[in-house]
């Protein structure tokens, strides 16, 4: 029994009764027989936070995703010690607004974390995310030592039989994936699927065993409740770090929100001027049944601010 589980069992006695009252089973939102929310909401022309307000409203508001008393894990891309305007990291105001929505929906705790590439303290602060998150009463969670990760086997995966996954991904009631859309030197694009690489401890294992397939198969363990792709300032080349002379940024003022991680990435690839088929992990994830990359058959709501 690991320590988190120990905690859970220990605490469950006390909170079980309360939980039983407050937690109701999730209402089926995607029922086929009614006009439900769209598969994907695409936004353009506003600030990251305004676009999120409009986008989440189109999906029925955050209350459709977060129930009162739940624990929410928010995973932005804050891997680099880089200022927000450099487009290497998720915009702090977007992360902040997502946290606000979660807290307004009654979330008990909202944790924001990333297994950063640069040293975690500078990443948390330089990206502006730490300050933004704390300002609204959410918390930054640690992800910088192996102790915060637990062994997991991804069901149905060939390569991810034994990976160390951040405990919040395994335990939080709601997982919100908030990548920033960028060019990537090896995978060509980094978006929603690639962003989840930052919840595992050993990145090198992905690189050794087959990068695209590892990225694609991770959501078999857990699909994010919601994916919010920040395409406001888009690194169109010279990614993902954005410190080279080849780096170019475009102010696209877009955002893509979807429950479907594959659909979100498929749409995002077009923003970079690519096709979903160009990105190895999008195809593998679609084949694994994790979502749909067929943009033509998706119900997309397009909103201009």
């Amino acid at each position: 029994m690991d320590r988190r589980e120990f905690l859970k069992r220990f605490a469950s006695c006390g909170v079980a009764a309360a939980a039983a009252v407050t937690l109701r089973p999730l209402r089926p939102l995607m029922a086929d027989d009614r006009v439900g929310p769209p598969d994907l909401v695409a936004l353009m022309g506003g600030s990251p936070q305004d676009m999120f307000d409009a986008g989440i409203a189109a999906l029925g508001g955050m209350r459709a995703f977060v129930r009162p008393g739940q624990v929410v894990a928010v995973k932005p891309n804050i891997s680099w010690a880089s200022a927000p305007e450099r487009g290497a990291t998720t915009h702090p105001l977007l992360v902040r607004r997502i946290c606000e929505h979660c807290l307004e929906a009654g979330a008990r705790r909202v944790y924001v974390f990333d297994n950063t590439i640069h040293s975690w303290e500078t990443c948390y602060s330089e990206t502006g995310v730490e300050a933004a998150v704390k300002a609204v009463g959410a918390s930054m969670a640690p992800a910088h030592t192996a102790g915060y990760y637990q062994a997991a086997a991804v069901p149905g995966s060939r390569l991810l039989r034994n990976i160390q996954v951040h405990e919040l991904v395994l335990e939080a009631d709601v997982l919100i994936n908030v990548p920033v859309l960028k060019h990537h030197g090896s995978t060509r694009m980094t978006g929603a699927l690639k962003n989840l690489m930052g919840v595992v401890w050993d990145r090198g294992m992905y690189h050794r065993s087959g990068l695209h397939r590892c990225i694609a198969e991770f959501p078999l363990l857990r699909k994010p409740t919601l994916n919010v792709v920040d395409a406001h300032t888009v690194m169109i080349s010279g990614g993902p770090q954005g410190t080279s002379y080849r780096t170019s940024l475009e102010l696209r003022k877009m955002q893509i929100i979807s429950r479907d991680i594959v659909a979100a990435d498929a749409a995002a690839s077009r923003v970079l001027g690519l096709e979903p088929e160009d990105i190895g992990h999008i195809g593998i994830a679609a084949d694994a049944g994790l979502g749909s990359a067929a943009l033509d058959s998706l119900a997309i709501e397009r909103i201009r601010l």
Partner: protein, 521 residues
């Protein structure tokens, strides 16, 4: 000033200063880092080394002024530094707390031959470019190593236990990060254990016999004529009854009760002896006649010896330079590799001849790339930090090591300037690369490279292969650290003398505004 008041003042100020040192050296906040850099600059050892760092006029002037103030103050006031400013002395004072029932201290013979010989060995070898003896004896560098190599690991263990406990209650506390260097830990543990033992048993014998900074300050208190107004502990030989009480409490063993004498060059002004004399023969005041060493006829003899010992240290000038040529343990190519030194150090030779091994840079390095060396620089560079790309990489925008280095071994660089410094060059071992051996996408190296010294170029079948450009490489080791191949397919070769890296523009160009007519999907 009444005697007990002096003791209280000394203990109070000492405790406060030691507290500052602990906060600054154990803490990892920005305030702690700045304070540590400041405190370290006020240490005599590093200040003297900084005189040779060729850092620039203002820094040189600051080091001159500060060293001069300390040395001149010792002429007039004796070794006050040792009881108020030296963290290693203060920690020995802390070790001596609650010692009342132990055996009384005894007078430690002055041993001028040993003490000044050691000082001159340290100075001579340091001038010859070898800081080994300085680093093995200098008190501030011992303090730095004591904290980073011994106390912080212990603190990390406590922190781990604490975070695990907090986690049981669902509370997140951020764990401390630490890479333990076992050999350095063991050496520091052994040295500290030995220090604790001898200090409890004999008092501040390290300060009294070994410490070159103390000997230097003590020497300053002796070389000038007694006609100068000099203050210190005065023993009135006429009143003294040689009862030995003062000798019994003297932590540096500098009071010779039988000889009715205080050795001023070893007295650290702790004040323990004041107020203990039944005859009132001890007081703090102006010293009228110069005190004498064992069988010493005063200043002239002292200067004569100084000259004699200077000759003895001449062989140190011929300390074989070949000893600098260290070999890195893990050179992926299998050959000898020059260890990379931090940006701002300008090269191996300069770095190893100025670094006092205090490990403050190692302590404050946010990525852990700076690690204590063992034999990477050879024996003469024992414990001096080295860029260890197996434990981290040097962040492109970070300039912290240069900001904290007190001896000028790592000169401060602006982030812009740092980007132009090449401390090593990248080498790609194509045959080991995952892209070749597995036929899968990788690019972990290029992803983290801050300068595009490692890029990815098409290699057929939807694959890209790393391509290196050493004009752009700064030698940060990001690629080596990130490379997932056991034994590494890409690594950094250190440069014995740092070179220039090209900063290819544009760097951080502003985003281009794009007005999308429609969604691209």
């Amino acid at each position: 000033m009444k005697p007990p008041r002096w003791r209280t003042l000394r203990a109070g100020v000492g405790l406060f200063v030691l507290g500052l040192f602990f906060y600054a050296f154990l803490g990892q906040s920005a305030a702690a880092v700045s304070l540590a850099a400041l405190l370290a600059r006020f240490q005599l050892g590093p200040s003297l080394v900084r005189l040779f760092s060729a850092e620039g006029a203002s820094s040189f002037a600051a080091a001159v002024v500060f060293s001069a103030v300390l040395l001149l103050s010792a002429v007039f006031l004796g070794r006050w530094y040792c009881s108020f400013l030296c963290p290693f002395g203060l920690i020995q004072d802390a070790m001596l707390r609650r010692r009342r029932k132990r055996k009384a201290f005894r007078y430690i013979p002055s041993l001028p031959l040993l003490r000044y010989g050691l000082l001159l060995l340290v100075i001579g070898t340091a001038l010859a470019g070898t800081l080994l003896f300085l680093n093995l004896t200098e008190p501030y560098s011992w303090w730095g190593r004591l904290v980073r190599d011994l106390l912080i690991p212990v603190l990390v263990l406590l922190n781990r236990g604490f975070t695990a406990l907090a986690d049981l209650f669902g509370v997140y506390i951020f764990q401390m990060e630490y890479t333990i260097d076992i050999p350095v830990f063991l050496v520091t543990l052994a040295a500290t254990g030995f220090l604790l033992f001898v200090t409890r048993r004999y008092g501040r014998i390290y300060c009294s016999v070994v410490c070159p900074v103390g000997t230097l300050l003590g020497g300053c208190s002796r070389v000038f004529p007694a006609s100068l107004p000099k203050a210190g502990i005065v023993l009135d030989a006429d009143a003294c009854i040689s009862c030995g009480r003062c000798e019994g409490v003297c932590r540096t063993g500098c009071i010779d009760s039988a000889g009715k004498r205080v050795d001023r060059d070893r007295c650290v002004l702790c004040g323990d002896c004041l107020g203990i004399c039944p005859e009132g023969a001890l007081r703090y005041g102006r010293i009228v006649t110069g005190p004498k060493l064992d069988g010493d006829d005063g200043r002239r003899s002292f200067l004569k010896r100084f000259g004699f010992f200077s000759l003895l240290t001449l062989p140190a000038l011929f300390f074989p330079p070949s000893l600098t040529a260290g070999k890195r343990k893990t050179d992926p190519a299998g050959g000898a590799n020059t260890p990379a030194t931090p940006p701002g150090s300008r090269g191996v030779r300069r770095f190893t001849s100025l670094c006092i091994s205090c490990h403050l840079c190692v302590n404050k390095c946010p990525t852990g790339v700076l690690a204590p060396s063992l034999m990477e620089y050879g024996l003469r560079g024992l414990f001096q930090p080295v860029m260890d790309y197996s434990s981290g990489f040097c962040e492109y925008e970070c300039t912290r090591c240069g900001e904290v280095c007190p001896s000028g071994a790592i000169l401060p660089l602006s982030p812009e300037r740092k980007k132009t410094v090449q401390i090593g060059r990248v080498e790609f071992l194509k045959d080991r690369c995952v892209v070749i051996t597995n036929g899968t996408v990788c690019g972990a190296c290029a992803e983290v490279c801050p300068t595009h010294a490692v890029g990815m170029e098409p290699f057929g079948a939807g694959l890209n292969l790393p391509v290196t450009d050493n004009a752009l490489c700064v030698g940060c080791g990001s690629c080596e650290y990130a490379c997932p191949v056991p034994g590494k397919a890409i690594f950094v070769r250190g440069l014995a003398v740092h070179a220039a890296a090209e900063v290819r523009l544009p760097l951080y160009a502003a985003p281009r505004e794009v007005e999308d007519e429609e969604f691209p999907f």
